[in-house]
Subunit: 364 residues, 2 copies
Amino acid sequence: MTSYNLLILPGDGIGPEVAGEVEKLVAWFSNRGTVRFEVEKDLVGGAAYDASGLPITDETMQRALSADAVLFGAVGGPKWDGVAYDVRPEAGLLRLRKDLGLFANLRPAICYPALAEASALKREYVDGLNLVIVRELTGGVYFGEPKEVVTLENGEKRAVDTQIYTTHEIERIARVAFELARRRQGRVASAEKRNVMKTGVLWHQVVSEVHKDYPDVALEHILADNCGMQLVRNPKQFDVIVTDNLFGDLLSDVAAMLTGSLGMLPSASLGAEDLVTGKRRALYEPVHGSAPDIAGQGLANPLAMIGSFAMALRYSFGLVQEADLVEKAVANVLAAGVRTKDIAAPGAPTVGTAEVGDAVIREL
Amino acid sequence: MTSYNLLILPGDGIGPEVAGEVEKLVAWFSNRGTVRFEVEKDLVGGAAYDASGLPITDETMQRALSADAVLFGAVGGPKWDGVAYDVRPEAGLLRLRKDLGLFANLRPAICYPALAEASALKREYVDGLNLVIVRELTGGVYFGEPKEVVTLENGEKRAVDTQIYTTHEIERIARVAFELARRRQGRVASAEKRNVMKTGVLWHQVVSEVHKDYPDVALEHILADNCGMQLVRNPKQFDVIVTDNLFGDLLSDVAAMLTGSLGMLPSASLGAEDLVTGKRRALYEPVHGSAPDIAGQGLANPLAMIGSFAMALRYSFGLVQEADLVEKAVANVLAAGVRTKDIAAPGAPTVGTAEVGDAVIREL
Ligand SMILES: CC(C)[C@H](C(=O)O)[C@@H](O)C(=O)O
Ligand SMILES: CC(C)[C@H](C(=O)O)[C@@H](O)C(=O)O
């Protein structure tokens, strides 16, 4: 029986609660006996900081490096607002992304017809929405140097962040987007600000160049501000959107909120394929954050986290049937009206985190 | 009779068409005889490039520097996609902003109840929406150096943009936001990415510091990605949003699109008050762009441009009654159902650019 090595990093806020429901699933699969997961659990973010003074320790990084997949909850919260910049909770996530080389972040924004009412947008604008944002995740302003605050002679402070992109960084993320579009509706929109930014100029150039290898995919260049607008005006016009780290951060949040089902959306962050083993490093995480306001109350929707586990089954472990099974169970649970507050129909009864997890297990 | 010096820069695309309707208004005020405008018109953007090889000439800049207010249409279009970066149409607008010192860009997003249907959002989310984005306009990644594309030894290219903010740049824009909030609902949301960017860390610090001078105003710090989300989830929670140049670009476009009335939204870009004369340099422009797809067809909605002129009357010329008069006329025209295609009710008849301008004049 094959055994897969899974590292679970619940993190902060609602992270541990939603991760707990995935542990139930893992146990279910292990009991079933056709597949075995070696599960390790560890700290990240504020929880790791509280325990060790670091948002992720070298030992945890070692575990992440040797895992077949990492399942990540969420990090951050007002509790750690005052900690030093270098050891803030988010630095743990950023180190994972960087040191695992997870340059490709896939963020689907899917509107479940059953949940379309929860969107602020009119049903016809979002019903059936199915787009993916392919966000570059290890470059740009997130990691460029200099990145500093200095005090000037006159006593003023001066802060600097540096956005850097090289040809190969843009090339590889463009390829991910084109490959993905091939297996979808065959359309890529590349978003940048080439009218203001030199990284946008290079982005536009390189994406156009890579496009020559994908003549069967339609490419549109769109300014990032206009992309934000178009996401609100008519989101269904998009299939795959490829963009840089910072624009991807903003645009994927806007796109996620359009669906009205933020608590439903998983994401995958992938590294390059290993030339020998054919494996990719991967981290899976829900699109929602740590939601400190509802943490610890058993109210969080675990479906985005469960969906992230399904993505891991599919993409990291090649367990396609098992992934289908989980996703089917989620759909059935939704159809049966078992819902946390965030996605409840007006006036309908709601259940807690554990009830949703249990319902998914029952469906399996 | 007081005379005011107005420079009109129609620019590209639908710019000249919508600016033409403002010229009618100017003529109407001049004929009326209580106020006189010295109007100059000049080229900017692609139109200027075609004429001179530059997106704005030194002579035009001189005119802008000595005008009481600049009225700007829009710049850019596919025609100039291939021109060199330094002389692209947008560089004309950026030079105006920088050389006039227009650090404060006020972008109201107002949803006219009569037009709420045009929004992709459900009526209850946007009806009565009235927020202002205060965008820093002369700093950040738009102007920081280095900003370049270099070729590396291995033949790859490397592009760099630099985001820089100093204490006083953040301080003065924060003051604009707090002052404005005082005259509105008294709430400021400050958006940055302090969890990732050092400029965000400084932004957060300085805004908190300036807030001490405005204890009567409520301040909330919000991450820029979450701000994008919240704009879609519940836009009416906001009063004034203050943010940097790049986030302001994106967030104001998202906010504008929420209203469903993009063709209705004016904006003002203001400089510092002159200590001697008490005057501020100012440029007024519609939030919409050059819309090359409908340019030259007489279809564009001139109301954002007319609203920008009303803002100039109010803020640069102190002609409050005249500004009220124009805004009243616009409201009446809307109420009478005289509408261009972008804001027409489904199935209702539409009119062209000139008809809307004429209708406003009739209402006056
Ligand atoms: C937590 C934070 C560092 C992170 C980011 O900015 O990338 C988050 O917003 C995300 O989108 O995953
Ligand atoms: C035309 C362009 C340079 C400009 C900007 O990016 O600031 C525009 O998008 C705007 O928002 O005024």
